[in-house]
């Protein structure tokens, strides 16, 4: 049985017809275990795409394929292609460090560095060779924090530890830290799963604002969140060998109201997963 994904995106929905990143026939293995099977997933530029699906279906693995974070697991390897700016990022001559500088990532648990708020933001810029005067760095910190809707809350305590903030503030600090290096794409791996509903709402609002300038891919367990925040939704599930694959991919509204696949409908209506 083949799992040809049902992709219901047409050019009109894509808008100007550009994809920020596109996976083609991607397989990801951990040792001999096939975790993600033959996924072709084009991600639309400056939109929010959500990846949903039951636990263990390879959502996070898929997300990490977009910035080659899987490379950090010794046993992981990938076949297939992920095109970014016309280049397959899995080509031999591509440096994963370079990829990660253009494809930023926000993690499940807020993980600010145990440094000051200021240093949290400038560190990424510094390691990527951002040269500037003290004023340039201050400007970078302010714009990044403003873009992450955190400036008003922390502008008087930029030199306090990032860990002194609340969970929601820490997560917005992580977002600010990511946009400080001006990536094209921001990957978010269940960014709200450790947050309370109010902090979650603020992050979701922030994501909507950020999507004006950035392409966002979010993995979420929370289907309401995917429905609220995303423009496109990819539904992953797994086969009998526990290999995750893309079941259905389309405009969020259509996936949630009129899914083509029975499995998608069952998952969305809470019948499994």
């Amino acid at each position: 049985m083949t799992h040809a994904p049902i992709t219901t995106i047409n050019d009109k929905q894509v808008g100007d017809g550009l994809y920020a990143v596109e996976a083609r026939n991607l397989n990801i293995y951990y040792g001999n275990f096939l975790a993600v099977k033959n996924v072709s997933l084009p991600v639309v530029k400056k939109k929010i795409s959500a990846i949903i699906g039951p636990s263990g279906c390879g959502k996070s693995t898929m997300l990490r394929a977009f910035n080659r974070m899987n490379d950090l697991v010794h046993t992981a390897h990938a076949t297939g292609e992920v095109f970014f700016h016309g280049k397959n990022i899995y080509d031999r001559d591509v440096d994963p460090v370079e990829v990660r500088r253009h494809v930023g990532m926000v993690f499940q648990k807020p993980n600010p560095f145990p440094k000051s708020i200021f240093d949290n933001i400038v560190w990424g810029a510094k390691v990527n060779g951002f040269k500037g005067s003290k004023a340039d760095f201050e400007q970078l910190v302010e714009t990044s924090l403003r873009d992450a809707a955190l400036w008003d809350e922390v502008k008087d305590k930029l030199h306090q530890s990032g860990l002194s903030l609340s969970g929601g503030q820490q997560q917005r600090l992580c977002i600010a830290r990511t946009i400080a290096i001006r990536p094209d794409i921001i990957l978010m791996d269940e960014p709200c799963s450790a947050l309370d509903p109010i902090a979650t709402l603020r992050i979701e609002e922030l994501m909507r604002d950020l999507s004006e300038n950035y392409t966002i891919i979010i993995v979420t367990h929370n289907m309401q969140q995917a429905a609220r925040v995303s423009d496109f939704t990819a539904f992953f599930t797994m086969d009998e060998d526990r290999a995750g694959y893309l079941m259905e991919y389309g405009v969020t509204n259509q996936i949630f109201t009129n899914p083509r696949e029975k499995t998608t409908e069952d998952y969305i209506t809470g019948r499994f997963g």
Binding site: N67, M69, L72, H74, T75, V97, E98, R100, R101, H102, G104, M105, V106, F107, K109, N111, P112, F113, P114, K115, W123, G124, V127, N128, S161, L163, C174, R177, T178, I181
Partner: protein, 426 residues
């Protein structure tokens, strides 16, 4: 306590399960275990107290001696050690023949003599002091009369004329004098300096290599690979290898094979008295090998304890592996690494066996001046003193043990201070 409010144990029909609360017995068992834990702690503290009391007890007490001239008569009751060089010289002038006085100062003139050297001359040529017996603090409580009886039974000839002096063996003179064959003049300076030099070499060798190996094993090596598993297992086993085996290793490699380097002769700075490479350099490297596995294992644990979320955050921002390690992994692992290094340092500082194998000097009076000097160390010095037949050396050994422990505590306190200082920054 309103136990009747709780539902009584009910047996569900047909399940075959039965709950018996038996709460008093469970609490009783708990109390017995707590009692055992408390007992274990009391025994531990008692053992430590016994150790410390025993050492302190030996480090002070009465000494019986005979002297041609009682030093207290010479000085009008002041301890001989507290005299200035001029006063000591005056004693020599008054109490030696002109010929003898000339002989004493034949090799170097009076101006070049230090106070301890003059003191030595006075004790040797004027006082002509012989220690007959020493007693510990608790024995000294019996009083001079009883002690004199003991002495007469032991040494009927000298006993009746012996003088008694209450002596505390650990003095600033003791700490700052070089080694000497006369127990009253012997000091610890040579051994303390030797130990500090050795520990310096050990740390310079073991810390960078140990932390480097730990970083490689934790951050770069593929831990699934059989060769890395083998290396890891071997490091763990090496930490448990008896120290004397490291001594053999050091003797073969550093003293014999690398003798020209460790003795400094290839650099032209060697000490001609040194046989092969029996130098501080060899001793320090040997102890470095000894503590290397401990440093590696402790550093690995500290590095492993840094949450992987920090590494991921670093990589996610486009940092290279090294940038991430340098900026986030190491700073967060430093407190743990320091703690591990404290343990390693303490171990190295107290090690005796490997140094004896490598060739610690049995008797040197010259302070070590560089890494190519011959050496002795505090524990080796203590060992040699305890091996001597006269009991006065036992008192000196006790005093030296106190010095060793104080030095160890000071080094540990410094390391703990550094650790806390680093920890606070996060």
């Amino acid at each position: 306590m309103g136990n009747q409010d709780f539902p009584q144990d009910i047996q569900e029909p047909g399940t075959g399960m039965q709950f018996i609360t038996n709460l008093p017995l469970r609490h009783r068992i708990g109390k017995i275990w707590v009692l055992f834990f408390q007992l274990a702690m009391v025994i531990g503290i008692a053992a430590l107290a016994a150790l410390i009391l025993n050492i302190v007890n030996d480090s002070t007490g009465y000494m019986a001696y005979t002297a041609k001239i009682d030093p207290l008569d010479l000085t009008g009751g002041r301890p001989l050690e507290s005299l200035t060089s001029e006063e000591l010289n005056q004693i020599l002038v008054e109490n030696t023949t002109i010929n003898r006085y000339k002989t004493i100062f034949k090799e170097k003139p009076l101006e070049e003599w230090s106070q301890p050297e003059l003191l030595e001359a006075v004790v040797r040529d004027v006082v002509k002091l012989t220690v007959l017996k020493t007693w510990s603090f608790t024995e000294s409580l019996k009083g001079i009369a009883r002690l004199r009886q003991e002495l007469i039974e032991l040494k009927p000839k000298e006993g009746p004329d012996a003088s008694f002096l209450y002596k505390t063996w650990i003095t600033s003179r003791f700490l700052s004098s070089p080694q000497n064959s006369d127990p009253l003049l012997a000091g610890l300076k040579t051994a303390i300096l030797g130990s500090l030099w050795i520990i310096g070499i050990t740390l310079l060798f073991a810390i960078p290599i140990g932390i480097g190996a730990a970083i490689y094993l934790e951050e770069f090596a593929n831990q699934e690979l059989w060769i890395n598993k083998l290396i890891q297992t071997n490091i763990n086993n090496l930490a448990a290898v008896p120290s004397i085996i490291y001594g053999m290793l050091g003797l073969t490699i550093f003293v014999r094979w690398l003798g020209p380097i460790t003795s400094g002769s290839v650099f032209g700075v060697g000490d001609p008295n040194v046989v092969n490479g029996r130098t501080i350099f060899s001793g320090g490297l040997t102890l470095g090998l000894l503590v290397l596995p401990i440093v590696i294992i402790n550093s690995q644990e500290a590095i492993r304890a840094v949450p992987s979320s920090l590494r991921q955050a670093g990589y996610g921002l486009g940092a290279t592996k090294l940038q991430t390690i340098w900026a986030h992994v190491l700073p967060n692992a430093i407190p743990g690494i320091l703690t591990g290094t404290i343990l390693a340092l303490s171990r190295a500082f107290g090690e005796t066996a490997p140094l004896i194998v490598v060739g610690v000097s049995t008797f040197i009076t010259v302070d070590p001046s560089n890494v190519f000097s011959q050496f002795t160390s505090l524990p080796a010095q203590i060992y040699q003193w305890t091996a001597k037949p006269q009991d006065v050396w036992r008192n000196l050994a006790a005093a030296a043990i106190i010095a060793l422990m104080v030095l160890l505590l000071a080094l540990n306190a410094l390391a703990i201070f550094l650790r806390n200082k680093y920890s606070k920054e996060y």
